[in-house]
């Protein structure tokens, strides 16, 4: 069973939120900085065309924690549950743990089931996730890892049970699953969502536009902080993602000087803007330096390209020259080969002519002499036949010798 289901099951128990509603002394470093929630809500409201106060509207009556009237001092924060309950009591105001309190809580950093159920019920009332965001920021400052882990676990369960993160892809992002979207996509998905139409949001019909704007920005911040914490994303990078997903001004508003000036002068937390601007400035400086380096590199590269081009041209000319030489040599070789073939054919023909002529002559003369010998062996011997044949053979052979000598 998931945490959210547990939480739902445990909601049945009445939550005595009033017990922790008042900020215990020493437990909360209230700080003087104005709440970022308010500032963001103002930005969001401005984006949507209004300049109304960005503070989230009051939660509905049934969701309001019951606080004991007249109790000036609240119970001291002795456990993590107390701290979380206190945070919910402050309704999204800035909270942090003093070192002493932190030390105290660290003795019992776990949340038991009863506490968890009670706190989950409180979390259900935090529709705009303002408290979750503050808890997330508070968790960043906690040095005790066990305590930090417990708080983060609680926040995780709060986020997972919130309708803003009900989609599969955002759950995957929260769970850091490999199939989940990357940071930029996840943040954009949260920022793009139209919460006014999300029926899963409790008391949706009673909410006003600034509430949804606050929900959008808090949800984005929560997810950004969650991802920064769980994935170790640096603040500069996170600022870039936030700019892309949430902070980018409305194109219409960005063109109207009046709106721009209004928005710029209504910034409640110049520190935050300063940090963002500084981040971007640093980033821009880095990019500018990189661009300068790239320009120099480009100039060098262009010079190299020119040099290489001229080298290529030179090599091409050399290749052409060599190819021309090769083709000349090939032609010469082909001609030489043909001449050789022709010469070979002629020599073969000459040889065959000579061979066949001499062969014929010898055959004829041998035949003649053979016949003469046959006549000589007769009884009585036909000497005149032999003499005739021998003379004819000798005459022919002499003729042949003469011809061969003439050819020399």
């Amino acid at each position: 069973m998931s945490n959210s289901q547990n939480l739902t099951d445990d909601i049945a128990a009445p939550v005595n939120a009033g017990e922790v509603a008042a900020a215990p002394e020493g437990a909360i470093d209230s700080g003087s900085a104005p709440s970022m929630v308010n500032a963001d809500a103002a930005v969001q409201a401005g984006r949507e065309g209004g300049t109304q106060d960005a503070a989230p509207s009051a939660p509905p009556e049934d969701e309001k924690p019951r606080v004991k009237k007249g109790s000036k001092k609240s119970k001291a924060v002795e456990s993590l549950a107390d701290f979380i309950a206190l945070a919910y009591a402050r309704k999204g105001q800035r909270i942090s743990l003093k070192p002493k309190t932190q030390k105290l809580i660290s003795k019992n950093p776990r949340l038991d089931d009863l506490e968890l159920a009670r706190l989950s019920e409180l979390a259900r009332g935090d529709m705009t996730l303002a408290v979750a965001r503050q808890l997330m920021l508070a968790a960043l400052e906690i040095s005790n890892p066990v305590l930090k882990g417990s708080l983060r676990q609680f926040i995780g369960s709060v986020l997972r049970s919130h309708p803003a993160f009900a989609s599969e892809e955002l759950r995957a992002a929260l769970n850091n699953l490999p199939e989940g979207p990357d940071v930029s996509e996840a943040l954009s998905a949260v920022a793009r969502a139209d919460y006014s139409k999300n029926s899963a949001i409790p008391g949706k019909e009673r909410r006003k536009k600034p509430d949804f704007a606050a929900l959008r920005s808090n949800a984005v911040y929560c997810l950004a902080l969650w991802l920064a914490e769980t994935r170790g994303i640096p603040a500069e990078e996170l600022a870039g993602h936030l700019f892309n997903s949430l902070w980018q001004p409305d194109p219409n508003a960005a063109q109207d000087d009046a709106i721009r000036l209004r928005l710029l002068t209504e910034i409640r937390d110049p520190q935050a803007v300063g940090i963002a601007c500084e981040t971007f400035k640093t980033h821009a400086d880095q990019i500018s330096r990189a661009a300068e380096i790239a320009r120099r590199g480009e100039a060098v590269a262009l010079e190299n390209v020119r040099a290489l081009n001229s080298l290529v041209e030179q090599l091409k000319r050399e290749v052409q020259s060599k190819e021309s030489q090769i083709s000349t040599v090939e032609r010469a070789m082909e001609e030489q080969r043909q001449r050789y073939e022709v010469s070979l054919s002629h020599l073969r023909d000459d040889f065959e002519k000579l061979r066949s002529r001499v062969l014929r002559r010898i055959r004829e003369d041998v035949s003649l002499l053979d016949e003469g010998l046959h006549a000589l062996r007769r009884d009585p011997p036909r000497v005149h036949v032999m003499v005739d044949h021998a003379e004819r053979a000798v005459a022919r052979l002499r003729g042949e010798i003469k011809e061969l000598e003439a050819k020399d």
């Binding site: 002629h346 073969r348 065959e352 062969l359 003649l368 036949v385």
Partner: protein, 614 residues
């Protein structure tokens, strides 16, 4: 593979081709061409020298189971060899196949490869249907004939190409008469050629197989046998061994050559006679005896030269070159007789006389020299004028090509219901033919036409084509009567166009022939052509034209005298209705008809005057 020259000779065949500007002859192991002989022994086909060894007698044609010079059989449907029916085409194909196989498989064969295409030599008198049969035979042997070439042309071209300076040689013999004298083992062929317009054309030719080299050997052998029989007192009952005559024939062949350098030779054949005590033949043959035996043959052969020159009206002094080829040309007696006739300077006895024709064919294949028509092919038109159908110098089609042309004509005189279409050719070659030069008819076609039609009404079509066998086929059609006639001419005369010859003849348009009467031999019966290539009343016989157009003969129009005379001569007498030359006509020659004018005024006795005019 290059195109080879193929001399398919009467006695010997030879393949030759040009490599590196020199002819290579594919001779056999003994340096001799392949004999054109084939022997059928049972199912075996023996060709070449092996078949020749089996021959015991001279002569051409079928000798037992041996066929010598099979090309002379071409043109016949079938022949019988020892009772077995053979096609001459198959017999020739057997020889061709053997010659090609010998050439390819011989020691020089690696220079040749497979013989696939050839320029083939043919005798001058080989006509179209025999050429077609020869082409079929070569095709059967796997060789396609690129072009036929006449043997004397090939020999002469081989001679011209073998001369050092080809161009100078051509200039030297330009427009001169050259006699090619080919005395081979089987035949004597004589051709008188002239180099006209860069084309080698034959002026006259003659040939005989009566005095071939083999006949000499046969005559010597017979004389020797006769004398031995006589000296030994044998009668005809004394038999010889079966192969003895063949052996003696071969000895006579060798002895004939030796007698050119010796006063006598001894002919000795052991085991010649059968059933007598001394079986050997021993005879001493002297040069005088040889000359005596061969004199008549020699005279006959040389006599052919003089008779040819006489027939052509040429004296020996006009011959600028006598090119002697063939194996017999080297016989001293023949040599000396040629020298007597022409003088040693004008006689060229080639050392390569046995291979010159094949070499010439190979050079023709190598140079791409083409056959061209030596004489115009003309159509005889009405009034004895001539129209050129195919001009002299027209390139003849090569393998697979056909040269076609179509002509549209009119019938000028359809009264007999026939249009007479005669193809003719001038008697002398060349393009500068005069209109009154003598012509010889080539073929005549008669096409039925509508006899009731007026002159020039019925149109005629004439298709003329020459195929790669150099056969001219003409087809005439009448378009109204729809009748057709066809004729083939197998004896067209061709010349060989010499590449780069001065004034080489091309397919140029020569001038129209003037309309002058053509000279004919005395007493010859002439066809009166009644076709015309244009509508012209002058071409219509006078008497016919008169029936359609009497006003034509009005003297004020100055009608041609010929037509007036025809009208006068051929129209019946207006007075008595008799023929104009009927002696019974006594009508008044000056009498005039009431209706007829002009020519009818001279009817009756007036025909005599008109007849004189005709």
């Amino acid at each position: 593979m290059s195109v080879v020259g193929f001399d398919f000779g009467t006695t010997n065949s030879l393949v030759s081709f040009i490599k590196g500007g020199r002819p290579i002859n594919f001779l056999d192991d003994e340096g001799m061409p392949t004999p054109s002989v084939v022997c059928y022994e049972g199912g075996r086909v023996i060709a070449g020298r092996e078949a020749k060894k089996r021959l015991s007698e001279s002569g051409l044609g079928i000798k037992g189971n041996i066929v010598r010079s099979p090309k002379i059989l071409l043109g016949r449907e079938t022949v019988f060899i020892e009772g077995v029916e053979h096609s001459p085409v198959d017999i020739v194909a057997d020889v061709v196949k053997f010659v090609c196989q010998q050439a390819s498989s011989g020691r020089r064969g690696r220079d040749l490869g497979e013989v696939e295409r050839a320029v083939v030599t043919i005798p001058v008198n080989m006509e179209g249907h025999r050429r077609a049969a020869l082409r079929d035979a070569f095709r059967l042997a796997g060789v396609s004939i690129v072009q036929f070439i006449h043997e004397p042309h090939a020999a002469l071209y081989g001679f011209l190409r073998s001369e050092g300076d080809y161009e100078a040689t051509l200039r030297r013999y330009d427009r001169k008469l050259i006699l090619v004298f080919d005395w081979g083992g089987g035949t004597v062929d004589l051709t008188l050629c002239r180099l006209i317009d860069g084309m080698l054309v034959q002026v006259a030719n003659d040939g005989t197989s009566e005095v071939g080299g083999d006949v000499f050997d046969e005559a010597i052998k017979n004389e020797v046998v006769r004398r031995v029989y006589e000296s030994r007192g044998f009668d005809e009952t004394v038999q010889t061994h079966p192969d003895a005559v063949t052996r003696l024939l071969h000895r006579c062949e060798g002895g004939k050559i030796d007698l050119s350098s010796r006063p006598s030779i001894s002919l000795y054949v052991p085991n010649f006679f059968r059933g007598v005590e001394n079986e050997e033949l021993d005879y001493t043959l002297s040069r005088e005896e040889l000359e005596k035996v061969t004199k008549s043959l020699l005279d006959k052969g040389i006599g052919r030269i003089t008779s040819l020159l006489e027939a052509a009206g040429v004296s020996t002094a006009q011959i600028s070159l006598c090119l002697a080829t063939g194996g017999m040309s080297n016989m001293p007696a023949i040599k000396s007789r040629l020298h007597e006739l022409f003088g040693p300077q004008r006689v060229h006895l080639s050392e390569r006389s046995g291979t010159l024709i094949a070499e010439g064919a190979a050079w023709i294949a190598h140079d791409g020299a083409r056959l061209r028509l030596a004489k115009h092919v003309e159509l005889l038109l009405a009034r004895n004028s001539a129209m050129q159908l195919i001009k002299c110098g027209t390139e003849m089609p090569q393998e697979g090509e056909v040269r076609r042309d179509q002509f549209h004509l009119y019938c000028a005189d359809p009264r007999d219901g026939h249009a007479k279409i005669q193809l003719q050719s001038p008697a002398r070659p060349g393009s500068d033919i005069l209109s009154n030069d003598r012509r010889s008819p080539l073929a005549t076609m008669v096409v039925q036409v509508d006899r009731a039609a007026r002159p020039f009404t019925e149109r005629l079509e004439l298709d003329v084509e020459i195929d790669d066998n150099l056969v001219l086929r003409a087809q005439a059609r009448s378009l109204v009567k729809k009748h057709m006639d066809e004729a083939r001419v197998h004896n067209l005369e061709f010349g060989l166009a010499l590449p780069s010859a001065p004034g080489a003849c091309a397919d140029d348009d020569s001038e129209e022939i003037e309309e002058q009467p053509i000279r004919h031999k005395k007493g010859s019966v002439l066809l009166r052509s009644n076709v015309a290539d244009q509508v012209d009343d002058r071409l219509v016989p006078g008497e016919l034209l008169y029936t359609y157009n009497p006003t034509y003969f009005d003297r004020r129009n100055d009608p041609p005298q010929m037509q007036l005379s025809e009208c006068t001569y051929y129209r019946p007498c207006d007075g008595c209705g008799r023929d104009s030359n009927d002696p019974l006509c006594h009508c008044d020659p000056t009498g005039r008809s009431k209706t007829n004018h002009g020519p009818s005024a001279k009817r009756g006795k007036g025909y005599e005057a008109a007849n004189r005019a005709v």
